[in-house]
Symmetry: C2
Subunit: 198 residues, 2 copies
């Protein structure tokens, strides 16, 4: 199988994708080679091009092909509000709600001491520099409501409050369509504590 | 999001992989961009290189980078036996058993009239030309034991018998470790019909 180098290299490269094991990688390679040559070429170009073109926005740390991303240069957005999210996917999800007109900062991760992910890995200094530009008034912590996301929010909240910024967190409670019988007790306890007058 | 073209192109290209939907493709793209830039570049090169280098062996129709693949040029193999398989993965599986020292022909598919896959799509004329080279004596049908695989085997068997070749099929029966209680009745019926003296 010495001469099959290109095929083996392709299978190995596909295996590096998250959630793809050796069998899937082989199946993908054979599929592309036999049934989707255009797709194979397209994937090659797309990967090379993305690697060459995509980097982090100087302001919000999201992926972009410019120095500063489209969201950050959009003058219609409210520079006083800065929403902090873990990933670009989280940002897209918030954008889909069409309820937020401020700007973002993308951590590209979350604090996770057990995995060796510390403050420098979530670009803390870049965030502090961004948040203390004199325009930002309120920082909204929109990290996930997992243990790691909560710990990250707590840490960032303390750091940014020390800089004199207003710090808020997304509300916790019963999700839309939630039936109390099937919602976990922790969520209900939280919703009870945070109850609001109607 | 106009400026995100490279990212969108990458996500679209990843979606063309079998078993990858929009969410997975996005996750893969972000993973490569954030955590595995080397992998992104490697995948780009591997795809472009595979597209440029890999084609079908003139003799066995398997993927190769040469005109004729390594297996076909190997003079240690028995040119009198030709084993017909559906896919390169099937070929690899048979090679792993180390029980077959003949040569192969890879159909790169199976007959499936409902999907519009006819004899020309499984390279019938190339197969007949290969099998009637004057050296091949026995053709072993090793297509899958699915409905389509069986139909393909039947069709190829009739065609090749008409060329005066001996045609055999892999044995059917109870698999190794099979407990009769849990084997399907069709398999047991077949094993009963094909029973052998010990």
């Amino acid at each position: 199988m010495k001469k099959q180098a290109s095929l083996e290299v392709l299978v190995e490269a596909l295996r590096r994708l998250p959630g793809v094991g050796p069998k899937s990688a082989q199946r993908m390679a054979y599929h592309l080679l036999q049934h989707d040559r255009d797709g194979l070429a397209a994937l090659g170009h797309a990967c090379s091009n993305a690697d060459a073109q995509i980097h982090h926005c100087e302001l919000c740390n999201n992926f972009t092909e410019s120095t500063v991303c489209e969201t950050c240069v959009n003058s219609d957005r409210d520079g006083e509000l800065l929403c902090i999210v873990e990933t670009p996917a989280d940002l897209l999800m918030i954008e889909q709600t069409m309820t937020f007109k401020g700007l973002y900062f993308v951590l590209m991760g979350r604090l996770s001491p057990l995995d060796g992910v510390g403050p420098q890995d979530i670009h803390l200094s870049k965030l502090v520099q961004r948040a203390t530009n004199g325009v930002v008034r309120e920082v909204i912590l929109a990290t996930n409501f997992t243990n790691e996301g909560e710990a990250t929010a707590h840490y960032l909240g303390e750091t940014l409050k020390a800089q004199g910024l207003a710090v808020t967190r997304l509300a916790r409670g019963v999700p839309l369509g939630g039936e109390l019988e099937y919602v976990d007790p922790g969520t209900i306890a939280r919703a009870m504590l945070d109850r609001r007058s109607t």
